[in-house]
Symmetry: C2
DNA sequence: TCCAAAACAGGATGATCATCCTGTTTATAA
DNA sequence: TTATAAACAGGATGATCATCCTGTTTTGGA
């Protein structure tokens, strides 16, 4: 019997973060036990504790590295790349709605899920989540300002539009998750569009 | 030493529900231990178990009796009593914002807080919360239809307006809670109004 | 008055969970 | 090669928690 082991700190860290991000979104922070995460990731207690000394440290890493990245990928980057803020917002709503429809269930927005459970519990959690919200809003507002500089988009207040968009999306996802029906997303998008044209 | 005790089933049930509703909103369902609730309500384990056999039963009672009642009081009744749907919505937003400003902190919307934590965990929770959301939207949509019947309110789609309003409010409260700043509520309200006039 | 059921008391129990601790193995740099 | 730290293993521990159980008191009806 040969003994073999290959140390792979980055890979192990990544696997734990993958499993934790998934479980936190599906079951929430408190309902996700470290034992479950260890089993799901195929990681021992010692390894987990080495990379993340506490559960809180793990959650902060999930927020900083996974939740922020997910928002960048599904919202911020597409809006920046879109021809206009309004078109970008519409496309993201529709893309998310389409994805939810084909997967058949709604787990909600990772940012909102964690924000509700953690922002009152711990100020470090709160601050980390708040800064992601702020970056989200700013990306949309900046895009509106860009549109205004290059001719389009009349007198829309960029910050108001951004706040309303983020709020409408977050709230729509809340309802979609609770009803397990992504139709609300499209309904809210139509409301946003029909009001602003 | 005289022994005295006055049975007060309704009062005891009410006190437990008060404490539980408060704690569920402030700390969430999982982070609220029955021991804490017992201490805060001044109730023994036997009494608690007599009125609510399980923690889940307690939470369902909180949802059905307290969360639903809170929404009726702060949203549905004011909107129904308002001269128009739009004015009702605006007044509620402003009333809530004013209340949050004077109390100095934001605990979020009880319905949304519980919806995020519980709707994926248990289908009975999910269904109870979803029906409250549905009633909320319907009350607003009905008010719009009333307005249209009595002359006002042009071609606004009642269901779209209701969905957008509830989503915007829920999402704005999410952000306000995470940022601990009620300003977002007013910002979103301005966005809603400026788009719809 | 008497009795059965409801209301309440308070401790027991077993399971769960996050953290910690003591080792062992692998990588790195001198 | 060797020393040192990082990476990993796996069990121990103590605390917490929801539920249950046995017993006592109160209440309302017969």
């Amino acid at each position: 019997m040969r003994k073999k082991r290959t140390n792979d700190p980055e890979g192990m860290r990544r696997r734990v973060l993958d499993v934790a991000a998934d479980s936190f979104q599906a079951r929430g922070y408190h309902a996700s036990s470290l034992g479950d995460l260890m089993a799901a990731a195929g990681v021992t207690g010692g390894a987990l504790h080495h990379h993340f000394p506490t559960k809180k440290a793990l959650a902060l890493a999930v927020i900083d590295e996974r939740v922020a990245a997910a928002l960048l990928e599904t919202w911020i980057a597409p809006v920046r790349a879109a021809p206009s803020a309004r078109e970008g917002v519409r496309d993201v709503f529709e893309a998310v709605a389409a994805e939810l429809e084909q997967q058949g269930y709604v787990r909600g927005c990772p940012l909102n899920n964690l924000a509700h459970e953690l922002s009152l519990a711990d100020d470090q959690f709160r601050a980390a989540l708040a800064s992601i919200f702020a970056g989200w809003r700013q990306a949309i507002a900046d895009k509106v300002r860009d549109d205004q500089r290059t001719g389009g988009e009349g007198g829309t207040d960029p910050d108001r539009f951004a706040a309303l968009t983020v709020a409408a999306y977050s709230g729509a996802m809340s309802m979609a998750k609770t009803a397990q029906d992504s139709g609300v997303l499209r309904e809210c998008l139509r409301g946003l569009i029909s009001l602003s044209t």
